[in-house]
Symmetry: D2
Subunit: 457 residues, 4 copies
């Protein structure tokens, strides 16, 4: 049973029907489909198209259909080409002919757009929560190691000392931005298409504002043609997911490095690592690699949907059916990844001694330049002198910190005995106390500020 | 002259230098680079690292450099590997050794992030203005044709009648959303990296809040490592541009169709069409095709930058240099396209008679079903009866509107003489008066609402 | 039961295990996994690592496992983290301890690469066949309409007359190129990784050439590190699929247009069109829209995998697990689409009269220019004169073909009475007889040539 | 002067003209445009449309135009909207009215497709050469270090020992595949569009086979509509470039890691590293980071063009103008990157002692398992025992190689005194002598085989 066959002389070819059918994946919208239909029934009654008894009959039917889905007892029949058809077909079996009134003034075009928006709104909420969980785990660890020195890297070369807490926070803020982004996507999604019909609007006096309120939408779509063909919200969701994926991949990349034998800054808990079928000694960071790898897939999903939308006429075209799978999969990807990365971060054993010992003396070269700056030498000249000191140390095969006094003074008479103070790690950290800097006191303030952001203050 | 050579024993290989140099494209940041440096000079003075005389000398130097760029008289020298180097080198030529104090406490890492953010903030403003221009052109045309009937299409098949103004507005709203999106990107971009140094923060007491205010930023980046490695704002800009491109491509696709010989609903002004080198009769809609085609390129730029960012460690890596070209090109693409599409829309000659005459009687089949609904027949049954009427008309090779009374009553005794009223075009339009519908009165209200949105009310 | 747990002190967290598990999708590789393992057993025996009895025991076990899969009776157990684990676990249940010898000298790294390559080789063959089916359908229709005139379009504007067969063939050739591309991908895929171990090669004297022959591979991977980390073949498959998607989208776009009311050149069979839940009259070209829309998704899958691979170290990283889903889905997409588009093309009802009548006289403007060229006037001047004739006809509101003789001669005395011959449709077609042109005789030759290409001649 | 203005009543709006103009980038096709036009002149003479004197005049004109371009003296005029217009305009200035005969039977549609194909054919050759250069540099280094042991990594964890030469070769083979791919793209590109006219074929007896031969094409495009709208070759080029980018990014990632302080396996020559404007000690691997980063951009270009092509009708649409920039830029990217990476690889200072010393004893765990296998224990049980040995060593805080004999025998009586032989590095390497394995003798054979592949044997 299709909803549309009466003007056709032959049924769809089975292969065409199979291509066309979407129930295998849009079945996930059953809750939203029933929510939307219940609200529609109320709107039809308010518009005088159903009487109270009919309304009650339909609502009872929906209660029953809903329970069947909840219990996993809903049975799909031949001809159930999508979730909308399946629900309406079952409703008709349960309540009889009055089910035929449900679709009055409505089209699957506005119905599916409403269902998917509702789903995305809920997925945004869930993802924002998952992100909050991960950020909380990072904050907890950052708090513990707010003052633990480690080499800071640019270009994967030791650059300047930072604290481990500060480094961890460099991954918390992007995730906090992601959380805000999902909140913004939710708001942009909460614009109701229902009541737009196929494309020209409802031909009956439907109160769309009341519908919006009933379903938790904030606005009513202002143009019925746009309402049925607009998938900006789906793109927005995929963009937020892709960027979250990129942020996870950056955190993952560094944790993979830092937990490798070469760095050995952190160790993953056994519950979050995996072994090898061949090599008995292996402890592989599979969850981190999957987080990194799936960023690529998330990027592809975004590019794919944007490409699908390119060049479509406004209003509904069947191409739009390609919107659901990437949206579902993007949410699934994040629903799988975020709790695992959260658990993994919580399991990390940090080795503060390794972190501190990894710092090489050349990392203080900027301190040497700044030492000269404080004596009034322009930074550019100071930088050149410090660079020459680095080179001289290399020529002498000694460490910068061990350069003999005579070598320092040969480079410049501004280098005096107190040049050794440049290699004072804690002082170097403490100096970075401007807002956002790595001074432990500032890192603690930063963690506090992130906590407030998380709490929505 | 590089800014960093003193610890090296040999100069860069010329091919490596050429690969590395970015002046050919980051030169566009000269204005932002000077703005940022001037603010930095003020901050250094406030921190006691420059005295008033030095500050004045540097500011005079910048005034001069700025003028050279404005007049196109700035001369690039060998070793000017990027805009930052070029400006500082020139400054040193003009003001001497004091220029060497400029880079105190600053790194190119926080400098370039600041420059690019400033540039993107301005590009967002300009793009929002360009979008407002295009929306205004659409509103003007929509107002004129708010009540002009035309076939509404789904699946590129005649679906239900709408008005031309309503159809035009289905393209205005997405562009209004784009405008909001650029405003949101601007806000997210206005977070100041300056004062983050290479990655660990400023080692001098720089007042970053004052810097932010001076440069028009709204916030201060909360973590110095994140500040130098975060390119979310660039992705946000590319995403907004890609989605704008998609919206333009959808408008373009339909205008290409509607201005073709087969539809002939509208005609482009001669100033916005082009001819053929071979076929003398051609009038091609090149600007629309370029708008459609460049949507693909914009999507690719977004996918490209996201892919570049995937898996990078936090803090600065040179990979980030790939951020500028796509951002510049995306703005250029929209700066080229939007005014042209605006002019083209303004030039459209609409043919209301063609629009109305294109409507085929079968388009009223939904009205026939709704006619039965109003008689109490459930919609599902009404739909089936209307579908059978369509099929019967096809069998008789007549138009649905011309189906003889006997045929109607043979289908159902609910079809009475007044079934003819279903084919009343103006009534069908007027019925769609729920919010967002195509009823002319509602279309006019919609245009008013868009005008208010444009005015920021 | 995992294959690797003995050095761990705690089991995987269930969420990490779920993230990590791939059986839900790599289960599709069961046939290839068993094929590969059977060949491996033979290689182990040849290398003296199994005796004949052990080999037989294992082979009997595989026969049994294979049958379970074929009959849908294979039962998944907890701990079956992927198809390789599941098969080996079941084998052990069936044949006991000797199953523990199966993984000798092998790693899942070379095993999974082998399985997926085998799968892709078979998918290439199947897709090439599907493409041949579609091309055959196009050839059949092109043959029927090899001489049927229609307007040829560039920029969706009438450009020059062509034949419907010629237009159809413009979609056959790209699909023939796709078929060749899948054949080339198959060849590049048929390079055996098995025998590469985890990354360093087999530590036993395995004869990899014999393995390759047994499994139908053409070459042996020359470097064991590359062998386990190379996914070029998967990218190649996705690229071929994406380009096929683009070609289908181009065919689909034009068939959607040509079957619309505005063109009405062709009609889809009822079995390949769908209706509307709301609008009883609709006949929507859903399969074509899905073909068009899924091109976007296919493009996204390619971009996604390339992005996943970007920046990975050589050898195996878990990120590579993201290779399978897009490959499977790309094949599924084409396996769904190609037969449906084939059936749809076969069902097309072409309306030769509509095609011919759609041709507008201005389409002959190039003939007018060429008419002058044949009189010795340089083409550039001839083009300008023909253009002026078009403009004059527009001013007079007449059709170009009906321009009075006086008007022609006023433009140029080279226009004589025989200028009317320019509007002879059949002559215009027949003139395009250079190779690849639209002259019916040449179109027939072209169809013949495509038939030979299809037959592999 | 445009080539098409005569039927228009007003000139193009300047903004539309600027949008439309492509000379700024397609100017690069000047050589191919002149080559193509010279061949076309010969074809016109052969078809009787030019006499010998006219032909000579035109050829002399082209010689002159060509020289102007070669000397950088070609002057662009207003109205030169693309390279084709510019060349024809200049030709007319030089040779007068006969230049008007050049475009006889030709359209810019087949002309631009021909020009771009010629350009891509040459770009494929050049890129294949650049790739050969890089592979040669890798082979040279691999030869030197064919037997130098190092830790082999999977999941960035020490897995099994390999040789540095073997690891280097794992990057050579993908680049050899890229070289083959560009050769295949060249072949697929060498299909001549010229003689297809605007879309319907040449209306004069042009010998397209002779044209193809003259221009170095291998085939003649079989369908004129397809010929002008097919951009598969451009996609093929972008795909080959993107995959090359991915391969470079993988090599770059590992060289960035291996040259970092944490690994210190290799050091970059000073000529291939860069410093920091702030931190005097830095030696950054900028070229490698750019290689890694640009892989993203290359992926984006491919996705962009595929997306642009999606849904276009066959034959020419202006959207196709978006093909040139990404193709040019992709070639430029590789032309910049490949020689630099070649030079950088040539400059690498490898530290064999660091490589060997980095190997940790746990890496021999597979040898321990294989030791048991050789005693007849099934691999799966052997793996479990070796894993328990690893865990026991960790509990005792000793290295696996130092586990006391009593501990070994406590795990299994199969562990005898000779278990120590498992930790013999050279023996472990030598055992991997199956084809493609890391045994030095096999690595040398592999290098020889790659040399032959490079030489085309």
């Amino acid at each position: 049973m299709t909803l549309w066959g009466s003007r056709f002389t032959s049924p769809p070819d089975p292969r065409a029907a199979r291509l066309n059918d979407s129930l295998s994946f849009d079945r996930r919208l059953w809750r939203e489909d029933i929510d939307g239909s219940e609200a529609w029934v109320a709107a039809l009654e308010a518009a005088g198209l159903l009487d109270a008894a009919e309304r009650q009959l339909l609502m009872d039917g929906f209660t029953c259909v809903r329970r069947e889905f909840e219990l996993g007892q809903f049975i799909v029949r031949d001809g159930d080409e999508d979730i909308h058809t399946a629900v309406e077909r079952r409703l008709a079996e349960l309540v009889g002919e009055v089910a035929g009134k449900l679709h009055t003034g409505r089209s699957r075009n506005d119905q599916v757009a409403t269902d998917l928006r509702l789903w995305v709104m809920r997925a945004c909420d869930a993802t924002a929560d998952d992100l909050a969980g991960l950020v909380t785990a990072i904050l907890t660890l950052a708090d513990t190691h707010a003052a633990a020195p480690m080499p800071g890297y640019t270009h994967l070369r030791q650059a300047q000392p930072v604290t481990f807490g500060h480094w961890l926070m460099s991954h918390a803020w992007p995730l906090l931005r992601d959380r805000q982004r999902f909140t913004a996507v939710r708001r942009a999604t909460a614009v109701l298409p229902l009541g737009s019909g196929a494309l020209s609007g409802a031909p009956f006096p439907i109160d769309r504002r009341a519908l919006a309120t009933a379903l938790g939408f904030e606005e009513v779509a202002p143009n019925s043609i746009d309402a049925v063909g607009d998938r900006d919200f789906a793109c927005g969701f995929l963009y937020a997911a892709a960027l979250t994926g990129v942020h996870l991949s950056r955190l993952a990349e560094q944790l993979i490095l830092f937990s490798s034998e070469a760095f050995a800054f952190v160790e993953l808990g056994d519950a979050w690592a995996t072994g090898s079928s061949l090599m008995p000694q292996k402890r592989n960071p599979d969850p981190l690699e999957l987080a990194r790898g799936r960023a690529g897939t998330l990027i592809g999903r975004l590019a794919g949907l944007l490409s699908t939308l390119k060049g479509l006429p406004s209003a509904y075209d069947k191409d739009l059916q390609e919107d659901k799978k990437p949206v579902f999969e993007a949410r699934d990807t994040l629903a799988d990844l975020l709790p695992v990365v959260t658990g993994l971060v919580g399991s990390l054993r940090v080795d503060p001694a390794r972190l501190r010992n990894a710092i090489r003396p050349e990392i203080f070269a900027t301190e040497v330049a700044d030492y000269l700056v404080r004596k009034g030498i322009p930074f550019r000249a100071a930088h050149a002198l410090a660079g020459r000191a680095v080179r001289r140390a290399a020529e002498l095969e000694t460490r910068l910190a061990d350069l003999p006094p005579g070598e320092w003074s040969a480079l410049s008479d501004q280098f005096e005995a107190d040049v050794k103070s440049c290699f004072d790690l804690d002082a170097a950290l403490a100096r970075r106390a401007a807002e956002g800097g790595t001074a432990p006191v500032e890192v603690r303030r930063q963690i506090e500020s992130a906590r407030r952001a998380l709490a929505g203050e």
